[in-house]
Symmetry: none
Subunit: 198 residues, 4 copies
DNA sequence: AATGAATGAGGGTTCATTCAT
DNA sequence: GATGAATGAACCCTCATTCAT
């Protein structure tokens, strides 16, 4: 089957790109790992960049779409943020390097591709932003600029990648996502201090 | 003057490494940007890697040391966290890509160098951790695992890099650091909700 | 045909290495002479060293093996020395520089390769040495240390390379090999003197 | 003293050229070994080649001149050949690589220099040739072509270089030169055989 | 569809040479 | 006389890409 070969190449390429980055991964290495000739890769993909982008598109689309779909749910704002965190952490767990690529705006990414990604990013941002706006209105979220909050949440959630490296083990009580969510919700400040604030 | 040439190379190299990453930046490009011959770079640095590491070491040391020095201050926990955020944001503002390099464990980084960086990271982590422990004791910080909190704060602060890209403009009222600090302290949850919690 | 390209490269490289030595011959020159791209050389050989060694191995093996095979012949000692000289002269005639490389211990030759060559050299030495020992026993060769004689014969024969440069033209009567053989056998001393010796 | 610096450079350069050859020895290495700046070498010598040739000229001249002087001696032919061998062996012992350079016609040697060397070579050849001619006339040397004999003797003596590598240790009785001389004089053939010849 | 030999632009690096000091 | 920072041509080698099979 045609798709088999293509998928095989993508799978193996993903592993290599994740391990060593785009530049340090060669077509030869991918070909060897995938047990195909170098020419075969060029039959399925226009270029090394095309292969790389195909992977990001494939893996990224699932994540982005699942997040964007949240806007159509009837869930409470807090629940939506919660689910976003879960999805974001899962994405980093399963596609560490793809996630990394999507966050950093590497120069090697060509313009056309960048636009596509940027659009998706903005859609996600909008979902979070709207959610926060709704939450502020209903009083479940603190007053403030929804756009700024959205960016901060996304950025905090983006740190899931690095989070992982620093070995925050999941205790039995709460998962990594749970901890991030709670931190985003409540911050560090103690109750004493909060009471004083009032 | 000798130092002038070396510094010039480092400055221009930093800009290029920041724009395109290590692999995608060539010695020729750096030489051209710095207006020196390719050989001149090799007079001042042993290799491309050496140049790269020299930059990270130079810029990174100042940041790390200034943060580690915080442990000797008599300031209140909240104030220390506050200063850390300020320093971290400044670091990202002034050395965007150096900061990025220090966060990501790129494969190409050699072992010896990695160890040095890791040690610095752990020192910083310890400073934050101890600060939080003290804060929890005095009730200014929420109960919880200081180590986990420290990691989350650092990771959140690490996101300052990405933060910047997404154009969170500094309004007149509060600087970027201020906003991150407040977010870390208070989280997103509204007061209504907090009262309910009690 | 694959072998054609590889052989072509080796042939042209041999000519260049012979003319200018290893260091002074560049891959670009070889590629140009062989009418192939630089990359093609690296498809067929791991490195410039590998190409160089491949040539020596290929050409050297034939010579060494043909000499070592002499030990299994039933020929008289004199005849074996005779044949060795012929083969040695032929080798220098046909592969002047390969022969030169095999004699000189160039510093750049790596250890593993040197060992292989050294072993072959010792095998040849042993063949000559045993032949001389037999000849001394039967009285056809002068008394003396067979090992030392063998070394001297080989070294004298090695001079076939330089011999050639100095233009000792082959007269009608005797070939170059014949003259070397006779010189090795009889030396320079006149008969008068020899009689006196007795 | 000026000469001191120049001589120091030449001495250290000789050692390095001998160890690693012309191409593999760099001006930097020589400068370091001689404890002078790279510029200093270029003050005393026009180029790397010039330094190399200066060394060969200096060391080679002494050898060539001492050999050529033999023609003015009143010694017997045998004695002259004997002294030539001694001088040749000494030259290889003391200036292994200089001797090697003088034998091989490396392409890197420029035309002008080659001519000078070639002339010296021919002068030496003439000395040996004339000596042999005289010896043949007086019957101490075998009949034959003096020119060819001269070349063979020189080439055999040239092998002193390689001779050395193969570790022909000097026994108490005879020095390396003595053995080469005897071999040149008498050859390998046994007395039995010689008697038969008569 | 698939292959892999061939290509050449470009990469990092070395080093003989120059020149201001 | 002496220095060493600076230079750039040339080196070895890699690798994305092509194309005949």
């Amino acid at each position: 089957m045609k798709e088999d070969t293509k998928m095989n190449i993508m799978t193996k390429a993903t592993k290599l790109f994740a391990q060593k980055g785009f530049s340090e991964t060669s077509i030869s290495q991918i070909a060897k790992k995938a047990n195909v000739g170098k020419g075969t890769i060029y039959w399925h993909f226009d270029s090394k960049e095309d292969l790389f982008f195909s992977i990001i598109k494939q893996k990224g689309k699932a994540f982005f779409d699942s997040v964007i779909k949240l806007k159509d749910s009837n869930k409470e704002p807090q629940e939506i943020i919660h689910e976003y965190i879960i999805k974001r952490v899962e994405f980093s767990d399963n596609n560490y390097d793809v996630a990394k690529m999507l966050i950093n705006n590497n120069e090697m990414i060509n313009r056309d591709f960048k636009e596509v990604i940027e659009k998706k990013h903005l859609e996600v941002l909008k979902v979070i932003e709207n959610t926060i706006q709704k939450g502020i209105k209903t009083g479940v979220f603190r007053e403030g600029n929804p756009h700024e909050y959205a960016l901060m949440i996304i950025n905090t959630a983006n740190s899931a990648n690095i989070f992982k490296d620093h070995g925050l083990k999941d205790s039995t009580e709460k998962s990594k996502a749970e901890k991030i969510f709670e931190f985003i919700m409540n911050g560090l400040k103690g109750k004493e201090d909060r009471n004083a604030e009032k």
